[in-house]
């Protein structure tokens, strides 16, 4: 990069730093604010006295959550869902990506299958037929409905296919000469060599299953089966704003238990806050490598 020491250029650098800092601040402040509210006194939060720092610092709302059986039940269901959902989609994605990364010379049906998959990704039956299907095979109020009801994450398959295709051909040929079969090549060669992209798609699936609320809303009918996002959605969003008049909406801040809700929202964020900084370096590589082809 070319470096310059002119005054204009340096003033520009300073302006840039200030501006970018402000933008970053705007991204993080709402989260910080939620944390501050959750650690404040109920009355102070309801009166709108909390700004950037907790008013009347206490852990009451977190203590209250400790005794909330429903919250932890929903939390547990979300954990279960993430573990099952991410492992299943990992295995299926890897298994599908390998044959599809072959060229048509080695696997004649490759293109035909690829087009079927693309069609299924772009065209769908819509909400009602999907719901009726899931219901008819008995996945209402079942963890398997939450884990499986959305189709194969085909965008992830494409990322992995493109990554596999860019691996050096010679490696596979050498393994073939040594007598390795396709399963051995896939799991002992391709998978270890594809850690960045596999970490990326796994992160996407973890975040997807953790964040998804709609299947929980539609496919489960009682709070015993809600995943965490659905539980929070019912608690914070629905009760607050659905079927309210303007007047009721005005009184909202006094009615709802802001500190408790903020604490629940914050706890629901923690897994993402913890997981994502570690995987950040992977996903930038994963996305760009998987999407760019030679």
């Amino acid at each position: 990069m070319v470096r310059e020491k002119t005054f204009g250029s340096q003033a520009f650098d300073v302006l840039l730093i200030v501006l970018l800092s402000l933008i970053a601040l705007v991204c993080i402040l709402p989260i910080w604010y939620t944390l501050a509210v959750s650690l404040s006194q109920k009355t102070a939060a309801a009166a709108g006295l909390v700004h950037l720092w907790p008013v009347g610092f206490n852990f009451n709302s977190y203590n209250e959550i400790m005794g909330d059986r429903k919250f932890f039940h929903a939390f547990g269901i979300s954990i279960e869902r993430v573990l099952l959902g991410a492992s299943i989609s990992f295995i299926v994605t890897v298994l599908m990506a390998y044959p599809l990364s072959k060229n048509t010379r080695d696997f004649r049906m490759r293109n035909a299958i690829m087009w079927i998959l693309v069609f299924c990704m772009l065209f769908n039956g819509g909400l009602i037929p999907w719901y009726e299907t899931v219901k008819s095979i008995g996945l209402i109020n079942s963890i398997w409905g939450l884990v499986l009801a959305n189709s194969v994450p085909f965008f992830n398959v494409i990322l992995v296919v493109n990554y596999f295709r860019n691996l050096p051909k010679e490696l596979e040929e050498a393994a073939l000469v040594d007598g390795a079969g396709p399963w051995y090549i896939l799991f002992r060669l391709f998978v270890p060599l594809s850690v960045p992209v596999l970490a990326t798609v796994t992160l996407f699936m973890i975040v997807y299953h953790w964040n998804e609320f709609f299947n929980g809303l539609v496919l489960t009918s009682t709070v015993d089966h809600y995943p965490l996002q659905t539980y929070i959605q019912q608690l914070v969003v629905v009760i607050d704003t659905q079927n309210m008049t303007e007047d009721q909406l005005r009184k909202l801040s006094e009615l709802s238990n802001q500190t408790l809700n903020a604490a629940k929202i914050f706890i629901a964020m923690i897994p993402v806050l913890v997981v994502y900084p570690f995987l950040q370096r992977f996903f930038i590589h994963g996305i760009t490598l998987g999407s760019v082809k030679e």
């Binding site: 991204c27 819509g126 009602i128 079969g181 953790w210 996002q229 309210m244 950040q280």
Partner: protein, 296 residues
């Protein structure tokens, strides 16, 4: 070179994915016939009455359908435009930054909202934009009376587009940054030797260098014209803002699953699926033509 006998292993590898796909993707496609039926969930698809295009003609006679189609396209188009421009400007600013450590910090922070769900963000937004919330407090410093953001239909599209940009601009920046690193550094050096200022370098080296990416993203975003984001709007809206905030997906949910008008909701959903499919196909054709883009 490869063993011919491998094909059967390949089919075996594809099997689990295909079973999954068949159940949750292909079977529901056959369920689309509900759109042409007076569907009765009690007796199922095979015994419900066929009514031809009655659901469609009823749909076009509803005032709702004009509202939801307009709202969907209006919100989606605003989002598409904002989500092309804001990340581009941000990426250009980030690219001019010379302190690597600081750059990395900024990136880590601005990616974060992308990974939070709309349930969480709606919870936060409802609080921040509430009557006594921080936004109204800041406004009151300037003498503005408190605004009930979520009770005014005129505010709703702005809130939706603004919060969507806020959530996604950091993540959308990644693809621009990747394109920026692809620009040959010697071009900058040559421009500097020729006496180009930073602004001139931006205009004559950087922008041309990523123009292909901009065109590509613009072409691909065409496929999203009917996707205004269910998750976001469903978690933010309320009956007071239906007139400007109700979109196809939220309407289908309420009409189908809450009011049990299965046939009507499926008809609207089918129309959306078909139009979306055509738009996405068109956008891929444009992308491959103008930016040489292939999905695989």
């Amino acid at each position: 070179m490869q063993n011919k006998g491998f094909a059967k292993h390949y089919y075996l590898m594809l099997l689990p994915g295909f079973v999954w796909l068949a159940i949750f993707s292909i079977v529901p496609m056959f369920g689309l016939v509900i759109a042409f039926q007076d569907y009765n969930p009690g007796v199922g698809v095979f015994h419900s009455d066929w009514i031809g295009f009655d659901n469609f003609s009823y749909m076009f006679s509803l005032n709702d359908s004009r509202t939801i189609f307009f709202n969907t396209i209006f919100i989606a188009v605003l989002k598409i435009i904002a989500n092309l421009i804001v990340p581009l400007v941000f990426a250009l600013m980030l690219n001019e930054l010379r302190i690597t450590v600081f750059k990395r910090w900024i990136q880590t922070i601005v990616y974060l909202p992308h990974f939070l769900s709309w349930v969480i963000l709606a919870g936060i937004l409802l609080d921040i934009l509430s009557y006594t919330g921080p936004v109204n407090q800041v406004l009151s410093l300037f003498g503005v009376k408190p605004i009930l953001f979520f009770a005014k239909a005129s505010w709703f599209p702005g809130i939706v587009v603004g919060s969507d940009v806020w959530k996604e601009f950091g993540f959308n920046t990644i693809i621009y940054l990747a394109a920026l690193t692809g620009i040959n550094p010697s071009l900058y050096e040559a421009a500097a030797v020729d006496g180009a200022t930073r602004l001139q370098r931006l205009r004559n080296v950087t922008l041309p260098g990523i123009s292909a990416t901009i065109v590509l993203l613009a072409a691909l975003s065409l496929g999203n014209v009917l996707n205004a984001n269910f998750d976001q709007i469903f978690n933010l809206y309320n009956p007071l803002v239906y007139s400007t905030g109700d979109i196809i997906d939220t309407w289908v949910y309420r009409t189908g699953l809450l009011n049990l008008q299965y046939g009507l909701a499926t008809a609207v959903g089918l129309l959306k699926s078909v139009v979306s499919f055509l738009l996405i196909t068109l956008s891929y054709i444009l992308a491959s033509k103008f930016a040489n883009y292939r999905i695989f």
